[in-house]
């Protein structure tokens, strides 16, 4: 069996010298697919994603991208390897214009990124309209688009989103999910953590249900939505 494109394999670890939060947790995503991590509060969803991105110590297990072991790399180095990360909060430069936010996203690129910016504007037309406005003045949903756009500027092969729909209205949430599907269609793998489990699983190729830092259920989005136990415990019947 060949390795998935990005895999956090049986990861165990926690923040700094603190106790372990993850226990033999495995998260993976295939090329061009959407993988979603769901679970109850405090299950270690965001932690699992941060572990994949190198933001906490993985004491055992490994993270591999395209077959290469990247466990020891810093988050910055992972960005250079083709991973994009959108934090849950403080994910834009509020005092800078939308366009400058995108430019900063492309900071590590030395080639011409005009094309990438055009693609981002195509994906999020509202950003093109507001490109000279300060990002901090935009609405919640628009700010999330800026955040995703910023992460896309490095032309990542995999995009990681930490609760992209936290705090936005249901309509905006649907729109954001549509955009995320569009991003996946361009061949970028998506790994995201979501509170809105049902909606997220509906668009997911693969779903991971975490409980207390361990894999509780794994399967395609449809399988998990159909699984009576998952429904009962996590989806409210």
């Amino acid at each position: 069996m060949s390795d998935p494109f990005l895999i956090g394999d049986t990861m165990t670890g926690g923040y700094g010298k603190g106790p372990d939060i993850l226990h033999d947790c495995t998260i993976a995503v295939e090329r061009g697919e959407i993988a979603v991590i769901v679970g109850p509060n405090g299950a270690g969803k965001s932690t699992a994603m941060k572990a994949v991105f190198g933001m906490l110590d993985v004491r055992s297990g490994a993270v591999r991208l395209g077959g290469e072991d990247i466990t020891a790399l810093s988050p910055q180095a992972r960005v250079a390897k083709g991973m994009g990360f959108v934090p849950q909060t403080n994910n834009i430069f509020t005092s800078m214009s939308v366009e400058e936010n995108l430019e900063m996203g492309a900071f590590i690129r030395t080639d011409d990124y005009a094309d990438t910016m055009a693609q981002v504007y195509e994906l999020f037309p509202i950003l093109k309209e507001k490109r000279h406005q300060a990002a901090g003045e935009l609405s919640g949903g628009q700010r999330q688009q800026v955040a995703v756009g910023r992460a896309l500027m490095t032309q990542p092969q995999v995009l990681m989103l930490d609760e992209p729909t936290a705090g936005v209205s249901p309509i905006v949430m649907d729109e954001l999910f549509d955009r995320i599907i569009e991003v996946a269609r361009t061949g970028i793998s998506i790994l995201m953590v979501e509170q809105n489990a049902r909606q997220a699983l509906e668009i997911a190729d693969k779903g991971y249900v975490l409980v207390q830092g361990r894999n509780a259920h794994t399967g395609t989005g449809k399988e998990l939505l159909a699984d009576p136990e998952v429904r009962r415990s996590f989806l409210g019947g």
């Binding site: 934090p87 800078m96 910023r150």
Partner: protein
């Protein structure tokens, strides 16, 4: 005619000095605000950085004067300014490497960095006094006035004269050029934008691959340039004395805070607010008012709200008012 005389007197004693002083404060406050925005602490050594930079400029000026080099009507110090900036830049970069970097790596609380900057302040102050001594130094040369009061009177036939010192003209022109360059750099260049990004959101800047050490280095270089320019202009306009630079710390901080710490635009606005308040409140208005009032109503007193020695009180009161009613400053600064 009376009105014109009043206006000329006002310009001569209030507007022109305040614009020059405001420009100097604005340059100083820009340095403070940049350090606050990027390195996230209030740098108590800033006044002494200004003194050190100005001192380097003065030493090179003397050397040039010794060689017989001059700029004609302009002060030789302008020619020496780049060397002064180099001196200050070397000093702050060495300081950053030897002192601040250690605490940055430790991620200490900002107040610890403020105390560290107190130590640096002692050292800079000692260095400056050690090299050039604690006394007044003269280094201005060239023409003293762009237009002198007597020329102005004979040109216009007014009773009041308007004198514009060369140093005042140079201050304003240099400040405008410096600020224009700074804003071009911050808003148009990749490095400048990365500095703004770092100041705005450190974690996200790191995620975007911005190298913090590079940002910090550029910040110090810019701060050294701003401090040296501000210090030299102040020295040309008033006089160079190490201790006065230390005392400038208060109006400079007041300007930066009034404008909103971390906001470059605010620093400039703050500089002028403080300068104009200081000059207007400590100016004796008798002369101006005499021109405007009918003779019967002429005031007997000097109409001076406060003695010039209370100029600190002015910065302070404005500072307190702004802090009480608008804690983030006129332009939204960081309120952390």
């Amino acid at each position: 005619m009376e009105f014109l005389n009043a206006f000329v007197a006002l310009s001569n004693f209030v507007l022109v000095p305040a614009i020059a002083y405001g420009s100097q404060l604005a340059l100083g406050a820009l340095g403070v605000t940049l350090i606050y925005g990027i390195l996230r602490f209030s740098n108590f050594a800033h006044g002494d950085t200004m003194a050190f930079g100005a001192m380097c400029t003065i030493l090179v000026t003397w050397l040039l004067q010794g060689w017989g080099v001059s700029l004609g009507p302009l002060p030789t110090a302008l020619l020496a300014l780049p060397f002064g900036i180099l001196g200050a830049a070397a000093l702050v970069l060495v300081t950053d490497r030897a002192v601040y970097r250690f605490y940055r790596a430790q991620k200490v609380k900002p107040v610890i960095l403020v105390i560290v900057s107190m130590g640096v302040m002692f050292i800079y102050n000692g260095l400056t006094r050690f090299i050039i001594g604690p006394d007044d130094q003269r280094f201005a040369d060239g023409e003293r006035f762009i237009i002198s009061a007597r020329d102005f009177k004979s040109m216009t036939g007014l009773d009041e004269g308007l004198a514009i010192k060369t140093s005042q003209g140079i201050t304003v022109i240099t400040a405008v050029i410096t600020v224009a360059l700074l804003f071009w750099f911050l808003n148009r260049t990749r490095t400048g934008k990365s500095m703004r990004a770092y100041s705005d959101n450190e974690d996200l800047a790191l995620l975007s691959g911005i190298n913090p050490e590079r940002v910090v280095m550029y910040t110090w270089l810019i701060v050294a340039a701003l401090a040296t320019i501000a210090g030299t202009l102040y020295g040309l306009d008033k006089s160079f004395k190490p201790f006065t630079y230390f005392q400038l710390l208060l109006p400079i901080f007041a300007a930066a805070i009034v404008g909103g710490l971390g906001s470059p635009l605010g620093a400039i606005a703050g500089g002028f607010v403080i300068a104009f308040s200081e000059v207007t409140i400590t100016y004796a208005w008798k002369k101006v008012v005499t021109y405007l009032m009918p003779e019967a109503l002429e005031p007997d007193g000097l109409l001076q709200l406060l003695g010039t020695d209370y100029k600190f009180a002015v910065s302070f009161v404005i500072l307190v008012i702004v802090l009480l009613f608008r804690p983030t400053g006129l332009f939204k600064g960081k309120s952390v």
